[in-house]
Amino acid sequence: MNALYSLLFVFLLVLIPLFGVDAAHLRTFFGVCIPTTAFIIFIVGFAYKVITWGRSAVPFRIPTTGGQFKSFDPEMFPQNKLDCPQTGAQTFFRMVLEVFAFRSLFRNTAVSLHEGKDHPVVAYKSSKWLWLFAITFHYSFFIVALRHLRLFLEPIPFFVHGLEFVDGLLQIGAPTMYLTDVGLVVGVLLLFGRRMINSRVNYISYASDFFPLFLILAVALSGIYMRYYDKVDIIAIKELTMGLVTFHYHVPEAISVSFFVHVFLVSCLMAYFPFSKLMHFPGVFLSPTRNLPNDSRAKHHVNPWNDPNIKPHAYADYEKHFGVPMAEAGLPLDNPENGKAPEEEA
C-alpha cells in the first residue's frame, strides 16, 4: 500500500511539468524558478538541519567498539585501530571506511533457525546483499551527480572528463551508455525489491521509504530517456545551466519537454531531501558512536551540562546511620561518636 501511494505520487509529479511546460510562459518557471527555489530549499534546509544537530551537545564519548582497545601492552594485545580507534587519525580512517566502503554493513549477517538433531540450532551466515545493493546504488548516484558538473562548470574539470571516459568504457550504443546509469536504475530496483520481498523490511517500510526510491528512479529514467531516446540539445541545456550558476537566466527554445520533466523531478528531490531520511548522508558524519575516539578513560572530556551539584551520598551521613553496628563489627570510624549506641550517650 505504502509503495503504491508513493508510486502514484511520483506519477503525479511527472505529469506536472509534462502539462505545465506546454504553456510557453511556464518554461522559465520550470527551467529557472523551480530549480532555483528547490536548490535554495535544499541548501538552507540541509544547513539548518546539520546546524541543529551540531547545536545538540555531545555529553559523553560513546563509540561502539568493534575490536580490541588500546591496551597497556599494545604488542601482546594489538589494538584494532579501525574499529576501536583511540586517536583522531584512527577515528578519521574509521569514518572514511564507513562512508566510502559501508564497512558496518559489510559485517552484516543473517540469522536463521533450524531443527538440529536433538536440539535447535541458530545459524548466522554472512549476508552482503544489502551492502552490494547499497554500494551499487550510492556509487552510481554519486558518479552520475559528479558527471553533471560538466553542465555547471566551464572549462569542464579534467576529472569529469576522466569519469565520463571510464564510465563509458564499454562503448555500448550511441551516445555511449554510462555504466552508472544502469547501476543507478538497477540499484534502486534491487533496494525496492528487497523492501518488497523481505517481509521484515517490508513491515518497517513507510511511504516515506518508498517515495525517495521511486523519485530517484524517475529522475534516472527521465535522464536516460532524455539522453538516449529524446537526444536533447546539450548545447542549449548547458546554456541554461550556465545561466543558472552565473545568474544570467535564459531558457533557450531548443530545449525539449523531457528536460523539464527531469529538472522538475530533481528539484522535487532537492526540496524533499532536508526533511527526509535522505539526511542520513550528512548524518553518518555526525554519529557519536562512530566519529569519536574510544579514549574516555585516558583523557578528560567536558560535558557542557554536567551538574556539579549532584554529589554522592555523604560518607559522614553513612557513618552516622550505620556507626553503631560498624563499631561492633570492628570497622574503623572517622568519628568515634558515631559508634556509640544512643543509650550510652547519656
Binding site: A57, I62, R200, H300, F322, P325
Partner: protein, 556 residues
Amino acid sequence: MSDIPKADELFKSIDYNPPATGWMETPVDFSPGNWCYPAKPEKMEYMESKLPGLWGPVREWNPGEEDWKLPANWKEIVVNGFKERLGKFRSLKVFMDICVRCGACADKCHFFIGSGDPKNMPVLRAELMRSVYRGEFTVAGKILSKLTGSRVMEEDVLKEWFIYFYQCTQCRRCSLYCPYGIDTAEMTMMARELMHLVGLNTNWIMEPVSNCNITGNHLGIQPHAFADIVEFMVDDIEEVTGRRVKAPLNEKGHEILFITPSGDVFADPGIYTFMGYLLLFDYLDLDYTMSTYASEGGNFGSFTNNETMKKLNAKMYAEANRLGCKWILGGECGHMWRVVHQYMDTMNADIQGSQMATPKSPITGTVFDTAAATKMLHITEFTADLIKNNKLKLDPSRNDHLKVTFHDSCNPARGMGLLDEPRYVIKNVCNNFYEMPPATIREQTFCCAGGSGLNTDEIMEIRLRGGLPRGNALRHVQEKHGVNTMACICAIDRATLIPLADYWAPGVTITGTHELVANALVLEEGEERKMDMRQEYLPGFEDEEDDWTPPNMEDA
C-alpha cells in the same frame, strides 16, 4: 517457572514473519510475565528526597491494570522532557533523523531472535520513539502523519514504551551492524529517563538504586553484615588453601581501593570470584583496601537516568579521597565498566582528589596510561600484566577438570573493547579453552538477556527467549568440545547465565575469571590443592572427604 514452555516447544513457537497488522495497530500484550513489577513507593519516596523532580508521582500502580495512575499533565512532561533531551544529546537527535529502515539491525537483537516479536527488532524498538518524535516535533510528520510513520504521544504509546524499553538490555549489538552506528541502547536510556519522569519504573531497578545510595551496595547489605560475609569468605579460602588472607575494609592509607559489584559478595557463584580476588591480593601482598561505603561497582543508576548514574558513580572517587587511595582497581562487572569507561571521568572528574594518580602496578611497575583520566583499572588488565611479567606462579592443571569457554559481556566488549585480556588470563590458568562460534563472541557477542535491570524472575520467559543465541552457542561447544564451564567478567552474567545455561545447555556451570585464577594460583612451593574454590574435590582427591586437614597443618 512451571508455566514456562520446554526449550524445544519455545523454540518451535518462534516465527520471524511479522503479523498481518501494521505495527502501530498491533496491540501490546500486558499479561503478567511481560513486565517487571513497579517500584515500591517507599523506594521512590527515598529517591525523590535525594534527587528531586526526576521520578514523577509516588504511587502504587500495576502495569496489568487499565489505569496506570499517571499524573494529569503526563503528556506535557514527557514531550517537554523529550525536547530537552534532544538538545542535550546529539546522539538522540541524530538517531531520530537518520535511520533509513534498512533493517540491517533487525535480526541482531537477542530478544528478536528468541521471540520473533517485530517490536524487538531494534529498528522498530527505536521507531516506538521516533514515531513520536516525528509526530510531535517535525513538520513533515505533523502534516503527513501515517505516511511518514508518525504518531502523537498517547497513553497507549507510553504503555508500549514501558513494555519494549524494558525488553532491551542496552547491549548495543544492534549498533555494531547499523551503517550509521545508530545505538538503540542510547534510545532505550532516553526512553527510560522519560518514563521515570512520570513515575513508570521497575522495582528490580529502583530498589537496587536506592540501596546503593543508602548502604553503598545494591543488595542493601549493611556494613557489619558486609564485613561478616567477607569474613566467611576468608574462612572458606582458608578451608581450601590453608591460607588466612587479609581482607582490609574501610582502612585508610592504602594505595589502592578495590571495588567490585556486590553481586560478587553475595551470590553464588560470584562469591568464588570474590574469593579469587582476595586470594590473589594476599598472594601479592597488595597494599589495598575495600570499602563498605563504596561496596558496589555495578551502576544501577545507568538504567534510570544520568543524574542517578552520576550520583552513584561519584562515591567511588569520594571514598578513594576519604581513604587516601591513589587509584581504583575494579572487579569483574559489565555495566560498571561501561560507566567507568565512557562516563566516569566526564561526570565526576571534578571530585577526583589530588592524591589520585595514573594507575601503576606496585608489583610490576607497569603504568597504565590507558586509564590516566579515570584512575581506574580493570582487574583483567592488572592480572594480565602480572602474568606477562611472571609474577604469578600458576598451575593450570588444577583446572583440568574444567573445559572452559568465555562469554564476552556486552559492555566491556562493545562499550570498551576489552576482549583479549580476559582470554589471556583464562588461557594462562586453564589448559582447556574453547571459543564459541565467531559470530557469537568478541564484539559480536550475545547478551545474557538479563542486563540493564532485567535479571528478574518476573520476566523469566522473556529472558530465556533472549538467552537463545547465547545458550545455543554454548550448547554448540558443549557438544563439540565437552565444554562444561563458561567464564565471564560480569556479575550480572554470573547470576543470569545460570538459568540460561540450565535451560539451553544443561550441564554447564558459570564461573568468574578470577575464580579460575584462584584455583590455579600456587601460593607457596609444593602447595597441593585438593579442592577448588567451590570446595569441590579435585579429581583424584574425592575420597579424602572424611579426614581432610588443611595443607598447612600437615606441614606442622
